[in-house]
C-alpha cells in the first residue's frame, strides 16, 4: 500500500464518516432521552431530497442546505408527536416512517426532479485550507471539505459539548432517559425534553442528508442514503451512547466502508460482504455485556405518561 492509496482510503472514509457521525450524534441525544428513532434513515433521505429540491429551485446551495434541515425538523415534529405525545410504538413508527420517506422522496423525485433536474444541482465546492490540506495522508481528508462539511463538523462538536454528560442540558437528557418517572417527580418536563431530543436528532439527520447530497454526491437518486441512517443508529449502539465511543465507531465504519472499494485494488482477498457485516457484529459484541461500559438508557422506547 502506498501513500496515495492510504490518503485515498482515509479521505473517502472521512467523507462517509462526517454525515454518519452527525446523524449518530443527534440520534444519541434522542436515545439518551429515551426515544429511539429508527427513522434516522428517513430523516436523512428527506434531508437529502429537500436540499436538492431547494437547491434546484432557488439556484443556491445554501438555501438548499437550509431546506434540508427544515425538512428534517418537520419530519422530526411528526416523529415526536407520534413517539412522545401519542406514545406510539417507536419501532413500528420508525420502520413505517422510513418507508414513508422512501416512498415520498421516490415519488417526489419522479414528479419534481424528472428530466434530469436532480443532476447538476448547485452544490458546495471544496475549500482547501492552505498548508493544512497539504499534510500527508490526513490533510485532504480533514482540510479539504466543503463549507457545509466544515459546518457539519462544527455542529458535531457543538452537540458533543452542549449535551455532554457534564452539562446541565446533558444531565437533564440522561435523567429523562434513565428514569422518566423520577425525573418527572423532580419537576423536569420529561416529554418536552424528549421532543427536544427528537428534534435535535432530526435536524442533525436533515443536515447530514444535505451534506451527503450537496457536498458529496451532488445529486439526488432514489434511496441514496442506502442504509446510512440505520448505520448511524448502530454507531450509537456500538459507541455505547458516549461521545468518544460514537466518534470511534463512525470513523471505523467509514474506513471499513472505504476499504470495501479499496481491497480489490490492494489484492486482499476478503469478500466485501464481510466488511459490510463488520459494523453490526462490532455493535453486537459491544452491547452484549462482554466488555464493561455504559448500558442502554433504561427508558429507551418506553413512553412516559404525563402532561409535559
Amino acid at each position: 500500500m502506498n501513500i496515495t492509496m492510504l490518503t485515498e482510503i482515509i479521505s473517502s472514509g472521512v467523507a462517509f464518516a462526517i454525515p454518519l457521525l452527525l446523524a449518530a450524534g443527534g440520534e444519541s441525544i434522542s436515545e439518551r432521552a429515551g426515544v429511539l428513532n429508527l427513522s434516522m434513515e428517513g430523516m436523512m433521505l428527506t434531508g437529502a431530497f429537500a436540499s436538492v429540491l431547494g437547491s434546484v429551485s432557488t439556484g443556491s446551495a445554501v438555501a438548499g442546505a437550509i431546506t434540508g434541515v427544515l425538512a428534517g425538523l418537520l419530519f422530526g415534529l411528526g416523529q415526536a408527536a407520534l413517539s412522545v405525545r401519542f406514545r406510539a410504538d417507536q419501532i413500528v413508527v420508525g420502520i413505517a416512517a422510513n418507508a414513508l420517506a422512501l416512498g415520498l422522496t421516490t415519488f417526489g423525485a419522479r414528479i419534481l426532479l424528472g428530466d434530469g433536474k436532480g443532476q447538476n444541482v448547485p452544490a458546495f465546492a471544496d475549500i482547501r485550507i492552505p498548508v493544512l490540506s497539504e499534510l500527508p495522508v490526513i490533510g485532504p481528508a480533514l482540510f479539504g471539505q466543503t463549507l457545509l462539511g466544515y459546518l457539519c463538523v462544527a455542529a458535531i462538536v457543538a452537540l458533543a459539548v452542549v449535551f455532554s454528560s457534564h452539562t446541565m442540558a446533558g444531565i437533564r437528557i440522561d435523567a429523562v432517559g434513565e428514569d422518566a418517572t423520577s425525573a418527572g417527580w423532580t419537576g423536569l418536563a420529561v416529554n418536552r425534553t424528549r421532543v427536544l431530543g427528537v428534534l435535535i436528532a432530526s435536524g442533525a439527520g436533515g443536515l447530514a442528508g444535505a451534506q451527503l447530497a450537496l457536498s458529496e454526491v451532488r445529486s439526488f437518486s432514489e434511496n441514496m442514503t442506502a442504509g446510512m441512517g440505520y448505520l448511524a443508529v448502530v454507531a450509537v449502539i456500538a459507541g455505547r451512547w458516549t461521545i468518544s465511543g460514537i466518534l470511534w465507531a463512525a470513523l471505523f465504519f467509514g474506513v471499513a466502508r472505504a476499504m470495501q472499494f479499496a481491497l480489490p485494488a490492494l489484492g486482499v482477498d476478503i469478500p466485501y460482504a464481510v466488511l459490510v457485516m463488520l459494523p453490526y457484529l462490532i455493535a453486537l459484541i459491544a452491547i452484549s455485556g462482554f466488555v464493561g461500559g455504559r448500558k442502554a438508557p433504561s427508558c429507551l422506547t418506553v413512553p412516559y405518561v404525563g402532561r409535559v
Partner: protein
C-alpha cells in the same frame, strides 16, 4: 359473538385509517395525473384481475402470516422480535444449501419437508443468539435482533458472491451472483389452480396461524408465555421457568421467520440472490404489531398487505402512477394505526408496554 362497535373499537379505527390512507393514495395518484377511477381499475386488475395476480398475492400473504405469527408468540412472552428479516435470510440460506445439494430421485414430500425443516432450524438458530443474550446477559432483544438483521442480509450476499459457498458455477463474466436453482424435489407444490402460481405455502401458513391461535389461547404453553410476558417475577413464583419460556418463545419466532425464508426460495424462480427477502421480515413485524395478538387479524392484515403489493406493481404499469404510491399508502396506514393506539387502548386496556 359479534363485538359491540364503538368509536374506540380497533376495527373502527382501522377502517378510518384505511379511508385516510386511501385518500392520500388518490391525492398522490392525482398529482401523477391519474383519476380515482383509473387507480381503482388498475388496482383491481392488478390484485384480482388475473389468476397470476391472485396467486402472487397469496404467496406474499403467506410469508407475512408466518413472520407475524412467530412475532406474536414471542410478543406474548414480552419479547419484541425485530429480527424477522435476518431470520428469514438465514432460513433462505439453509433451504438453498439443502435444496441445491439434494440428489435427484428424492420423493417430493421428503425433499420439501427436509428443506423447510432446515429453514426453520436455521431461523431458530439465528434467533437463539438474541434469545441467549437476552436470557443470560440481559441484552435488549430489540437491539440484538435488529443488528442480526443486517448481518443476515450481508450473509446472503456473502453466500451468493463466493463460488466456494452457494454461488452458481462461474462460467463467464456474465454469470449472475446468485445460487443454482434448487432441485425439483425441493420445490413447493403448486395448489394446482389454472395459471395460478399459488403454492401450498398459503395452506401451510393458514394452518400454522390457526395452530398458534389455539396454542396461545388454550394450551399450557400459551398460558406460560402470557404469564412470563405479564410479569416475569410472578410467573417465576408460580414455578414457571421464565428464562426457558422466553428463550423458546423467541427461538420459535425465529423458526417461523426461517420457514418463511424457506418458502421464499422454494417458490419460483427457486434461487437465492441478494435482496431475495424483499423486506418481508420487516413487513411481517409490522403486521404482527398491528394485529396485536389476534390471529384473525394476522391473517386479515397479511392478506391486505399481500394484495396491496401486487396491486402497486400494476398501478405503475396500467395507470402510470409510480408504484412507490403503495409504499406511501401502506406506511401512512401503519403510522395512523400505531398513532391511534393511545385512543383505542383507553377503552380496552391491554399489555401495551414494551419493556426493554
Amino acid at each position: 359473538m359479534m363485538p359491540r362497535l364503538h368509536a374506540r373499537h380497533p376495527l373502527v379505527v382501522a377502517l378510518a385509517a384505511m379511508v385516510i390512507a386511501a385518500l392520500v393514495g388518490f391525492a398522490l395518484a392525482a398529482a401523477a395525473g391519474a383519476g380515482p377511477a383509473d387507480v381503482i381499475d388498475a388496482l383491481i386488475e392488478g390484485t384480482l384481475g388475473s389468476p397470476f395476480a391472485i396467486g402472487t398475492s397469496l404467496n406474499n400473504a403467506a410469508l407475512l402470516m408466518l413472520v407475524a405469527a412467530g412475532f406474536t408468540i414471542a410478543y406474548r412472552a414480552g419479547l419484541v422480535n425485530v429480527g424477522g428479516e435476518g431470520q428469514l435470510c438465514l432460513g433462505g440460506i439453509a433451504a438453498t444449501a439443502v435444496g441445491v445439494s439434494m440428489p435427484d430421485g428424492v420423493p417430493m414430500p421428503i425433499g420439501v419437508l427436509t428443506t423447510l425443516t432446515a429453514a426453520a432450524l436455521a431461523g431458530a438458530g439465528w434467533a437463539a443468539i438474541a434469545a441467549w443474550l437476552r436470557v443470560k446477559r440481559g441484552t435488549s432483544e430489540i437491539i440484538t435482533t435488529l443488528l442480526l438483521n443486517f448481518v443476515g442480509l450481508a450473509l446472503v450476499v456473502l453466500m451468493v458472491q463466493e463460488p466456494s459457498l452457494l454461488r452458481q458455477p462461474v462460467t463467464s463474466s456474465e454469470t449472475l451472483p446468485q445460487s443454482e436453482p434448487l432441485a425439483t424435489s425441493a420445490h413447493l407444490p403448486l395448489l394446482g389452480l389454472a395459471k395460478n402460481p399459488a403454492t401450498i405455502a398459503i395452506v401451510l401458513a393458514v394452518i400454522l396461524v390457526a395452530a398458534v391461535g389455539i396454542m396461545l389461547r388454550h394450551s399450557a404453553a400459551g398460558l406460560r408465555l402470557s404469564a412470563v410476558g405479564l410479569s416475569g417475577g410472578a410467573a417465576a413464583r408460580l414455578g414457571v421457568q421464565v428464562d426457558r419460556t422466553a428463550f423458546l418463545g423467541l427461538t420459535t419466532a425465529g423458526a417461523f421467520s426461517g420457514l418463511a425464508g424457506g418458502c421464499l426460495v422454494t417458490t419460483a424462480p427457486f434461487i437465492l440472490a441478494d435482496g431475495f427477502s424483499s423486506g418481508f421480515g420487516f413487513a411481517g413485524l409490522v403486521v404482527g404489531l398491528l394485529a396485536r395478538g389476534s390471529m384473525t387479524a394476522v391473517a386479515a392484515v397479511s392478506l391486505l398487505f399481500g394484495f396491496l403489493v401486487s396491486g402497486g406493481i400494476n398501478l405503475q404499469l396500467a395507470a402510470g402512477v409510480p408504484s412507490s404510491t403503495i409504499t406511501v399508502v401502506q406506511s401512512v396506514l401503519i403510522i395512523l394505526i400505531a398513532g391511534a393506539a393511545w385512543w383505542t387502548t383507553s377503552a380496552a386496556p391491554s399489555a401495551q408496554k414494551v419493556s426493554v
